[in-house]
Symmetry: C2
Subunit: 269 residues, 2 copies
């Protein structure tokens, strides 16, 4: 079992709304860089990829409301996630004194995915992760050298094909894999204060949630929206070795990482 | 002085024409990945960045025939060089068994540049390198871990600003900096067989060139074209500690690296 002698690493997922706002992103990275605890940052793409695709006249295919990653869309995603956003984040973290290194899953073969098979719907170049996808040794080498990995939502299949993978899924798979060797806290940072019973009432944040509480609440309308996959992901991570999952506002990143004066949601077993 | 106990590293610059051709690029990377010698690959951007800028309707500013990197052009360059091309190369090298890791100069702060001052002409977000720009220790850590760095032509100023830097200059600065601790061979791979007296006559390749030979030839028309900056770069590197510089066709990469059955140009002191 894990003991105090295990090193600690925190996995932080930063969502699209923060990435889209230059000042918010700077403020977030500035706070994050004060962390004394080692961390791996995982970022999504925000609206930039969609904006570029639209400017370039690349049609966005939707099947049953879900986006299809065709070859052109994958190129845009690779440019925006692994290029523009990743390098801007890395350059800012370096300016704030963190020795950041940007990674896609292809770099160091650190996250290998399997192209989703088109049983009923062909989602295109989308990569799914399994329990063997994350090569924790690679992250360990970088962390031991004092480096701060910054991971974008592009993976590969090991055969030369890049793939688009959901950033929340990368964050929780990474957290689960790292928990085999580290004490791991997983933090989902976004533009809300946490899991809220009423999105218009900031006092309605559920401050802590364990599995049995969640099971009694999970059919409530406030969870059935976009929060459901995040919470399923969170409890999955908890069930597989992650110590705790924090869901909260990006401006509270320091309070989240230290769990001091934090006002968002904490998920535990 | 350097002795045999120093480790060897080769710096390889691959030019735009190879990058633009998917089959050529695959073939090149497949050969390169057979190398037993450790190497760092530096790549330019080919025509893709210009194509995207034109599709997006971003005007390309030219002052006295030289391109200006305005903010929009820098975004495109970052997306294409650090995103699309870098990750495609990394994914292919991984498929061929090399543990590649893509880097911009911002990653690990490995190459820090200085924004070119606009004395007479403001070239925009262009970064120049000096003798302190390359942090060799970072490359050393990666090489010691058996990793293969793949460097794109984007650098940073250390204060959060990304910059566009010429890939030939990155390759030679990297070679010079690494030569303080390694035996270094620098290889410029492109679509020609080497330095040629007559570009239409493949038998006209100058097989070897030292500084005094170069000085007697440098005003010849066949050198005064695009070859001049490459050769100035090459002799500069030789003068600063690089053992040899090879200029040749990308299809000869294996012969170039081993200097066996090689038909291109070798530059020595």
């Amino acid at each position: 079992m894990k003991t105090d002698i295990l090193r600690e690493v925190q996995i932080i997922k930063i969502g699209g709304n923060v990435i889209d706002d230059e000042q918010e992103l700077k403020s977030f990275l500035s706070k994050l860089s004060r962390s004394k605890v080692q961390f791996i940052l995982v970022h999504g793409g925000g609206k930039l990829a969609t904006q570029f695709a639209s400017k370039l006249g690349i049609p966005q295919e939707l099947i049953q409301g879900r986006r299809v990653t065709n070859a052109e869309t994958l190129r845009i995603a690779t440019m925006v996630y692994a290029g523009l956003i990743n390098k801007q984040i890395v350059a800012l973290l370096q300016a704030f004194g963190k020795d950041a290194i940007g990674l896609s899953g292809a770099d160091l073969n650190c996250i290998r995915a399997v192209k989703r098979s088109g049983r009923e719907i062909d989602y295109g170049f989308v990569g799914d992760l399994d329990s063997t996808s994350v090569f924790t040794e690679k992250f360990d080498i970088l962390l031991q050298a004092g480096m701060t990995p910054v991971v974008c939502a592009i993976t590969h299949d090991g055969k030369g094909q890049l793939l688009n993978t959901n950033a929340d899924t990368i964050a929780s798979s990474l957290a689960v894999a790292m928990s085999r060797h580290f004490r791991v806290q997983l933090n989902f940072c976004f533009e809300k204060k946490g899991v809220m019973k009423d999105v218009n009432d900031s006092a309605s944040v559920i401050r802590s949630l364990n599995l049995s509480e969640y099971q009694s609440l999970k059919h409530e309308p406030f969870i059935q929206g976009g929060m459901l996959p995040k919470l399923e992901n969170a409890f999955d991570a908890i069930g597989k070795g992650v110590e705790s999952v924090f869901i909260g506002h990006s401006s509270e990143i320091e309070q989240m990482m230290s769990n001091m004066n934090y006002h968002g949601t904490v998920i535990t077993a």
